[in-house]
Symmetry: C2
Subunit: 206 residues, 2 copies
DNA sequence: TCCCGTCTCAACCGTTCGATGGAGGCGCGG
DNA sequence: CCGCGCCTCCATCGAACGGTTGAGACGGGA
């Protein structure tokens, strides 16, 4: 019994590469390709693939996480495997939360991709060996969630804005901005705006 | 007469994709694949490809720019086309300086890649339509070059380090660090450390 | 030779930042 | 209803930062 697969990636070259790699394997069949998340959902409804291989970054429009959520809302829902170049905690964990069956780094060997797809088709979750531990640690030691407003401040912070500037952008007083900053610093365990931006980048919060 | 091509990319999937796309075209022949810059140079010496398609980011070891320089030092030198996901000024310009015949964004259509290779094989330079203008502007309006020491400071700055911390890392006094910072601010046309990091990122200086 | 760029350091001063310790309002769920 | 989290704001204060000016040392190039 062959496994039907839908590819979702905004790079034509990557799609071709995946198709070439997967179709060389017995039991795998690429039934469709999509360049955007929107396209992916439409195709998945018609083609009913068992597994969707989805890039985390999809240029404009829906990102991989939103696409995952939309795909998982279908009935029957395909298993979704996330493809990614970098392994940022926040994004990958977000994808898992959205219902992804696992994730793959793009630089793995073809055999590993095939293996992961077969597992996903069986309903298994496939997490990279290193990530499994991190997920567990993430549950045990949850990353502090920033509030909406704190995210706003963080984004401006990353552009190098000062307190006064942020206050104007967000239409609040400087005191409020400082208050948010204190909370951000506390949650990220840092003591300066520059370091906050640095660890926020590391954790994929930007 | 067929054009011999060497692929250099650390992602097996991308290599497969490029191979699939290129071999579907008449007159193009992929004669080899390399996952690292070092490997690429060795293979290029033996296979003597007319064109090398080289990713800008190559995981560990030599990056795309260093690889380009090494390839161009061969005799006869292959034409080098740079592949990249993001279009950061500094890196692309660096690759051009190192002797690249042009660059391609990874999300272009296969036809554009084939076209670029054919041009490169003829000795043409192929710059993206948008970049050509930027190169010209870059010549007219050269980006201020940071000195070695200023780069050191900038790197530490990006990690969120304070002046005292940087001084200790670089084994100089705080006054010296501040001096470098003033020069960096001036060259990047900013007025704060956070903003310096921001524009440095935009310009690919990190 | 002298100039110029780079790296090094110093002192001064106004501004911004980060820490602290509050306070009130608002919405949501127990 | 009451608590809790979030957002908003205030005042104060020491530490850090940013701008300025000036200067000595070293090396390469005109």
């Amino acid at each position: 019994m062959t496994i039907d697969i839908l590819l979702v990636d905004d790079h034509p070259v990557v799609r071709s590469g995946l198709r070439a790699v997967l179709e060389a394997s017995e039991g795998l069949s690429v039934v469709g390709e999509a360049a955007t998340g929107e396209e992916a959902v439409v195709l998945a409804e018609h083609l009913r693939p068992a597994v969707v291989l989805c890039d985390l970054r999809l240029g404009a429009g829906m990102d991989g996480i939103a696409t995952t959520a939309a795909l998982r809302a279908l009935a029957p829902a395909p298993a979704v495997l996330i493809l990614t170049t970098f392994d940022r905690d926040a994004e990958i964990l977000g994808a898992i939360e959205a219902g992804a069956a696992g994730y793959l780094l793009k630089d793995v060997a073809p055999a590993a991709i095939i293996d992961a797809i077969q597992r996903a088709a069986r309903g298994d979750t496939v997490l990279g060996p290193d990530l499994a531990a991190r997920v567990i640690q993430g549950i045990r030691n949850p990353l502090p969630r920033l509030t909406e407003r704190e995210h706003d401040v963080l984004r401006l912070l990353a552009t190098g804005a000062g307190n006064r500037e942020m206050a104007k952008s967000l239409l609040v007083s400087e005191a409020t901005v400082k208050s948010h900053l204190v909370h951000i610093f506390s949650k990220l365990d840092v003591d300066s705006r520059s370091r906050a931006v640095h660890v926020a980048r590391q954790r994929g919060l930007l």
